[in-house]
Subunit: 297 residues, 2 copies
């Protein structure tokens, strides 16, 4: 089973890499430096957790791998744009990402800004110019969901709260609000977009899948906090221990490592319960869930 | 005629202001500071040239003002996001925009970055969540066009070329390449999106309208260069003379003021010729064209 999952994940990671390779403008098309930077930021790195979730959700609804590949690429482009902007000096000011110099270090700040901006546009272009759902109206709903998840009431809003929280003592509900937006919204969109590529879900199926996605989004962040506190820079591929150094509230600073792990495990159980309605069709989603919760601990 | 146009423009500017007021998140919704900054950047300023073009193009195809208002708001959000990012220290480093302190001066750099990011997401959200065209497939085409116009092969790409051109001697074709991307692409999208809100255009109508939009987009930039060179900061509402100060190539530095004006006039004639096929239905587009070319000179 685990070997099977690893093969599946590898094959989907290769698929998403190839889709991104294809749809990112070639580095010899003007403006060359911008296109080079876009490819640098996106290609050849990352665990592609959001695409894996989209592929697994697509298996739930019998979606074609081709459709999900493009939808998942759009979600990953939004994710990478947020990393590029988040690493800028006026934000987290980080120099290392996915084991390489961050975009503004490798190029310059202006190019990194435009790289993020252009990756966001490209995400919506992909969702609009390929046939990804059985009808155009569902595809509009996919775009609406991704736009909402990315914007001020989703990911970008979560980043604003994050910035504002540096050096502050947040309560657990405040920390949860931040992460539901900053990380959770896009993970939720990844799951729902993958599912939309296939057959329509019944109402209670959609509610359960969305609840699953919400739990897994939060669990992902709890695990991230644990990893940031415990891992080394080399394992992480990005600067470790940044949160503590920046005096950022985390699940570790609020709960301690043991309780944070227990919280992640509780969210995993809650997520898996939401999948029961789907039976065996949700097996991939269960595997991706374990992969997310158990990476490195 | 001119009085009539001014009334029309005022009423459409009020419409777009009201649509933007409605769809920008309220400043008392969390994250409050980000939402406040988004409203600060977007509301109560600007000539709304792109929305006026969208409304005029909508009249060509009998589109409802309500639909065009939302499509035009999406285009304006993309425009404003680009201004907010363009004013950042790592780009043009400007302190004054539309007669007010720029977003990063009024708030801070991180908020200005997230404001631009969130405005871009909101633009696509608006296009996806409202019924704007007779069928969902056309609406997907609207989203595709706006995304392409905004991205690395449109506006953001033009800005990359612009940054790269500081202090360089560009040829006229190179300058044109830059402006067709930086300003032209979004103006073209504004015209086409307005038209898509109404009845379908015939093939040669679509080609002519697109050519009109291309000419007017370039003419707009030529006029902007003339204004930047000749106007004062007070009239302009943004820092005047920045181009010369930054040693940026412009139509003025390449052609001189007189030839630049002649170029704008030539583009106006070319644009108007493309409208002949539409007869009286294109009257508003002709008026907006005159408004764009003749503002302040």
């Amino acid at each position: 089973m685990i070997a099977d999952f690893q093969d599946w994940a590898k094959s989907r990671q290769a698929n998403i890499e190839s889709v991104l390779q294809t749809f990112l403008p070639a580095a010899d098309i003007a403006p060359e430096r911008l296109h080079d930077a876009m490819r640098y930021a996106v290609l050849g790195g990352g665990k592609r957790v959001r695409p894996l979730l989209a592929f697994a959700a697509g298996e739930l609804t019998g979606a074609s791998e081709e459709r999900v590949g493009i939808a998942a690429a759009a979600v990953e482009l939004i994710h990478v744009y947020s990393l590029v902007h988040d690493d800028l000096p006026c934000m987290d000011d980080d120099v290392l990402r996915r084991g390489k110099p961050t975009c503004h270090i490798q190029y310059d700040e202006a190019i990194a800004l435009l790289t993020g901006d252009s990756l966001q546009s490209l995400a919506f272009q992909l969702l609009a110019e390929h046939r990804l759902a059985d009808d155009a109206q569902t595809q509009l709903e996919m775009i609406r969901r991704l736009a909402q998840a990315a914007g001020s009431r989703g990911m970008a809003g979560g980043q604003a709260v994050d910035l504002d929280s540096v050096g502050k003592a947040l309560s657990l509900p405040e920390l949860e609000f931040m992460h539901i937006h900053k990380t959770g919204a896009l993970i939720r969109a990844a799951v729902m977009l993958g599912a939309y590529c296939g057959a329509s879900l019944g109402e209670s199926e959609a509610v359960n899948l969305d609840h699953f996605a919400k739990c897994i989004g939060l669990a992902f962040q709890v695990v991230d906090d644990v990893l940031d506190a415990e891992a080394t820079t080399a394992t992480l591929g990005k600067t470790a221990g940044k949160d503590a150094e920046n005096n950022k509230p985390t699940y570790i600073s609020l709960l301690g490592a043991r309780q944070a792990r227990e919280l992640a495990e509780g969210l995993r159980r809650d997520a898996c319960q939401s999948l029961e309605i789907f039976g065996a069709k949700a097996e991939r989603l269960r595997q991706v869930t374990d992969f997310i919760i158990q990476r490195n601990f």
